[in-house]
């Protein structure tokens, strides 16, 4: 991967921020000189052997460095892994996502794995911070899968008391539950695909893996016999499979039940969780009344919890965080945000269910390594999800009809904006339907909501009928493109105003246009149009092409065409975003330098944790201010990371 100046700088800053100067130094040298052997690396980095060995092994543990031992010359080459370095900035967002999905404890487990780089299950079992948390689980025995959710709620309810209170009476429970609790959480993380098995190939750069695999395939006798093009394609195909096989770390097999991973929080459960908490035995009965198959399913789940899940995960298994999959989940939250902009709330809920289902079946955001060029990108649909399974997932208490207008076209509005009377009866009709919810009606209602989402301009969903069964899917590439355009449009709007936005949209839709035609379509006065175009050209958002009509290239005999190339703008914006992130991080460093004396005092081991005792009121205020300042800058970095994700990863 070619690294630009800005992203290199950013990676270095991130590593320095997280791991300190030694790592940053090694990483910078490797980024500057690309692949290096140990002696060369020592020469360039000017570090002692001891430092270097120590640093390299720790960085390999964190996947910040790839290494590869060549069979030809026996040398081991080291190479920077910028992807992993960049992922550091996203860790907070990922943990937050996992916390909302799977609860606080799951986030802690993931955090532990993240901070270790990779870890064996056995090691995770011994970690004290993962064990202390088990105390939070109230009456864990009959709770089954809901424990995870409840932890979230408990924290809201004021977990402070609970921890102390419940520890004493439930003590024996808790001790018994200890190993069981870590393992179900790990299993649910694994079945969601958020963590995966560490493979040896993960330590090597993708290129090395590829070359290695091609070599192995090429040396096979059956391939050797082939000739020319046939051989080349054969090698390519087989090597692809081999790389896939070697890097495949999927742990979700066998853990997905009914298309749902373990511990998946579902809307309907969420809706009922309150009653669950008060009377855990009653829930099944109550649910049974609503929908027949739910009771039975819930039983299956609890069986799962008690039976299969008490089998702990293989403690020799080594796991790491699967960033690719987490990007999929993060991308889905962005799609959901898009839907929230103007779709009714019920549609958003249903869309959430659809996206969840799709997430479980999507391993990565896209197949190609780079984002394909605009217009050359084929549409890639998500796995189709059957309407019936969405119906299962949606909270049965969700009001479907209340937030859609009537189907019948109303008679034309009269001038005052008052609707004629018969319109109101339409509304009443809608209500009547609502009173008799049957399975059929419900499926129809959900289908209606998904149809609303499929409307332009966003086209969030696409209907697809497979052998007579209605299924829904999401056109990922198109939506990812829309996200990219949206980010660009926001920037254009804030910099050049809404006039510029219109001009850019026209150019994007129509291609290259001369000024006159552009004016006719955008209906803007020449003066405004020229000003906007000129300032946008300075900013690098639009460009001008000259088409001379004769060989002399006289300006008067030249056609000037304006155009807007989103690909180019995207890549330059990406660089700018990297740069802005670096600047924020550098500013934190600078601000910290300004406050060095004060901060050193607060970070003294005797002061830390006892700030109230040792610091004066003014100092406490100062500390709070500093923390807010740091948080603001870090939040900005994370907001910028959202943009990077859109431009680069989705």
């Amino acid at each position: 991967m070619m690294m630009s100046q800005c992203s290199t700088e950013l990676c270095m800053l991130l590593i320095e921020d997280n791991f300190g100067e030694l790592f940053a130094r090694i990483f910078t040298v490797l980024q500057r000189y690309e692949r290096l052997t140990l002696p060369r690396l020592r020469f360039y980095a000017r570090l002692t052997d001891r430092q270097l060995h120590h640093g390299l092994s720790a960085m390999i543990q964190h996947h910040l460095i790839y290494h590869f031992t060549s069979l030809d010359d026996g040398n081991t080459y080291y190479e920077a892994n910028p992807q992993a370095a960049y992922s550091l900035v996203r860790s907070g967002k990922i943990l937050q996502l996992v916390e909302t999905r799977l609860g606080e404890y799951a986030a802690q487990v993931l955090e532990a794995i993240m901070s270790l780089g990779h870890s064996s299950i056995a090691h995770l079992e011994t970690l004290p911070e993962l064990q202390s948390k088990r105390q939070r689980i109230p009456n864990g025995v009959n709770q089954g899968e809901n424990t995870v959710e409840n932890t979230v709620e408990d924290t809201v309810d004021g977990n402070g008391e609970k921890e102390e209170d419940s520890a004493a009476p439930n003590g024996n429970h808790v001790v018994r539950e200890k190993p069981v609790h870590l393992h179900p959480t790990l299993k649910s993380l694994a079945s969601h695909g958020y963590i995966h098995r560490l493979r040896e190939a993960h330590f090597q750069s993708p290129n090395d893996n590829w070359i290695d695999a091609s070599r192995i395939i090429a040396s096979r006798p059956d391939v050797k016999q082939m000739k020319g093009k046939q051989q080349a394609t054969e090698i390519e195909e087989k090597a692809k499979d081999l790389v896939k096989e070697r890097t495949e770390g999927d742990l979700s097999r066998g853990l997905i039940y009914n298309g749902l991973p373990q511990g998946a929080k579902r809307k309907r459960d969420h809706g009922n969780s309150e009653s669950n908490k008060q009377a855990p035995n009653g829930t099944n009965g109550v649910n049974g009344d609503h929908v027949e198959d739910e009771g039975e399913e819930d039983n299956d789940w609890s069986e799962d919890e008690d039976g299969v899940d008490s089998i702990p995960m293989d403690s020799n298994l080594i796991v790491r965080v699967n960033y690719e999959k987490l990007d999929v989940a993060l991308r889905n939250t962005r799609f959901l945000d898009l839907a929230k902009q103007d779709a009714p709330s019920a549609s958003v809920e249903i869309y959430d269910c659809l996206l969840r289902r799709i997430e479980y079946q999507t391993a990565r955001c896209r197949d190609s390594y780079e984002i394909p060029r605009e217009g050359e990108e084929g549409e890639q649909y998500s796995a189709p999800i059957q309407l019936s399974s969405i119906v299962e997932d949606v909270d049965p208490n969700l009001d479907l009809t209340g937030c859609i207008g009537p189907m019948e076209p109303s008679t034309v509005l009269n001038r005052g904006g008052k609707r004629p009377l018969d319109d109101e009866t339409n509304g009443v009709n809608g209500d009547e339907h609502e009173d008799e919810p049957s399975g059929q009606n419900r499926a129809y209602g959900i289908d209606q909501h998904l149809s609303i989402l499929s409307q332009p301009p966003l086209n969030l969903t696409t209907k697809h009928v497979i052998s007579g069964l209605p299924t829904w899917r999401v056109a990922f590439r198109g939506l990812a493109r829309k996200l990219r355009h949206l980010e660009l449009e926001r920037m254009i709007e804030s910099r050049y105003g809404d006039v510029a936005l219109r001009v850019v949209r026209v150019l994007h839709a129509k291609g290259k246009l001369d000024e006159k035609r552009l004016q006719e379509i955008s209906l803007l006065p020449f003066k405004d149009l020229r000003q906007t175009l000129a300032s946008m050209q300075t900013g690098g958002f639009v460009d001008l092409q000259e088409v001379p009509r004769d060989a002399q290239r006289q300006p008067s005999k030249t056609i000037y065409l304006w155009y807007y190339d989103p690909d180019r703008v995207c890549s330059s914006m990406l660089e700018d975003t990297y740069k802005a992130m670096s600047r924020c991080l550098q500013r934190i460093k600078f601000e910290r330098g300004r406050e060095r004396d004060f901060l050193e005092k607060t970070e003294r081991t005797d002061v830390k944790g006892h700030e109230e005792e040792f610091l004066s009121e003014a100092e406490l205020e100062h500390l709070r201010n500093w923390k807010a300042k740091e948080a603001l800058l870090l939040a900005e970095v994370s907001r910028l990371d959202d943009m990077v994700a859109v431009f680069r990863d989705y």
Binding site: C403, I404, L413, I452, P457, L523, P525, Q586, A628
Partner: protein, 350 residues
């Protein structure tokens, strides 16, 4: 000889009257058309030629050439009167301008075609304009060119640029007011307004709790495949009935405006431009339109509130004019940046 001349004149006027009676004024006459009128005795071609020549001299006929054949066109007696009062130069200029009809003609082209000296041409144009025979016009495509056309004609769409131009300049105020009207009209038809009596109940069912803000109107989207969205024809007639336009707008003009609104992300075309749907509810549209444009020197944070945001637009770097020069240790650097402190204070202020 004199009798022959008067005979020709008589015949000529007969011929002219016959032509006016038999054909419409825009007809292009060939020789055969005259002969078919049976005005000329014995279909004498030489005599016919004399008659037409005399009519041309009287400015009652205009001599034209088509496909290598001579043709003639009628001129009104009134126009002929006008022309007869002109000097030969003026008449020539008049004829050239006349020939371009509703598109008008550029002064330099008149010069080329008449071969008149510029000062003479200017004098002719001035006197013609003074007599109110011709008028100058603005061409949208070539705003810098001075163009003329006959005073009695209305300039063509091509010249004026359509309904959205006034005197060759795009009329932004007019466009904005019509666009605003259209957006609101379409918006009213794109959202279902919950009747006041129903409102409270509906909100209860939707969110499971009573919403306090019952004063606000609630708008619901229509289901997919709803056929009640306004069509182009409906929108056009609504605009024309509203009385906000001095002239009647054609459907093409309205479509032009609708497309512009689509580019503004205010409307969405459905079914290949057959229907239009608004993205914002009528209340939102109204609020948006009543919003005043930010005045210079206003607090920037207030003005920015309306804009959609992302990481880059918020960060000081996103707005920084010298962002490209910024480098650690440079003249512009993150350490010496003067935008961060106000930004931080602003961020911590609330």
């Amino acid at each position: 000889m004199a009798s022959a001349g008067s005979q020709v004149a008589e015949l000529a006027s007969k011929l002219y009257d016959a032509c006016v009676n038999e054909f419409d004024p825009d007809h292009l006459f060939y020789q055969n058309d005259f002969l078919n009128l049976k005005v000329i005795p014995k279909n004498d071609v030489a005599l016919l030629l004399e008659c037409t020549q005399s009519l041309v001299n009287q400015n009652l006929f205009r001599l034209l050439q088509k496909d290598g054949k001579l043709t003639w066109k009628l001129i009104d007696r009134e126009d002929a009167e006008k022309l007869r009062n002109l000097t030969p130069d003026e008449a020539m200029v008049y004829n050239v301008i006349h020939s371009t009809e509703r598109t008008g003609i550029w002064v330099r082209h008149i010069g080329n075609r008449t071969n008149l000296h510029k000062s003479i041409l200017d004098r002719c144009l001035k006197s013609l304009e003074g007599k109110n025979y011709i008028k100058s016009l603005h061409n949208v495509k070539y705003p810098s060119r001075k163009m003329y056309m006959l005073a009695g004609l209305a300039p063509s769409e091509e010249v004026t640029g359509g309904a959205w131009f006034t005197d060759g300049v795009l009329d932004a105020n007019f466009i904005n007011s019509v666009a605003g009207y259209i957006e609101y009209t379409v918006s009213r038809k794109s959202w279902y307004e919950v009747p006041a009596s129903d409102r409270k109940k509906r909100i209860k069912t939707a969110s499971g709790k009573v919403d306090v803000k019952t004063d606000e109107k609630t708008y619901l989207p229509y289901p997919h495949g709803y056929a009640g969205y306004p069509t182009v024809a409906q929108i056009a007639s609504a605009v024309n009935e509203s009385g906000i336009t001095p002239v009647r707008l054609g459907e093409e003009s309205v479509v032009q405006l609708l497309e512009m609104l689509c580019y503004d992300n205010k409307l969405v075309a459905l079914g290949n431009g057959e229907w239009y749907r608004s993205l914002k509810s009528p209340d939102a549209v109204k609020a948006n339109q009543s919003r005043k444009p930010p005045i210079e020197g206003d607090d920037l944070s207030v003005a920015n509130k309306h804009l959609v945001k992302n990481g880059m637009t918020e960060a000081p770097c996103g707005q920084c004019p010298v962002f490209r020069l910024c480098a650690p240790g440079g003249a512009v650097s993150p350490e010496t940046c003067e935008y961060f402190d106000p930004w931080l204070n602003n961020g911590l202020g609330f």
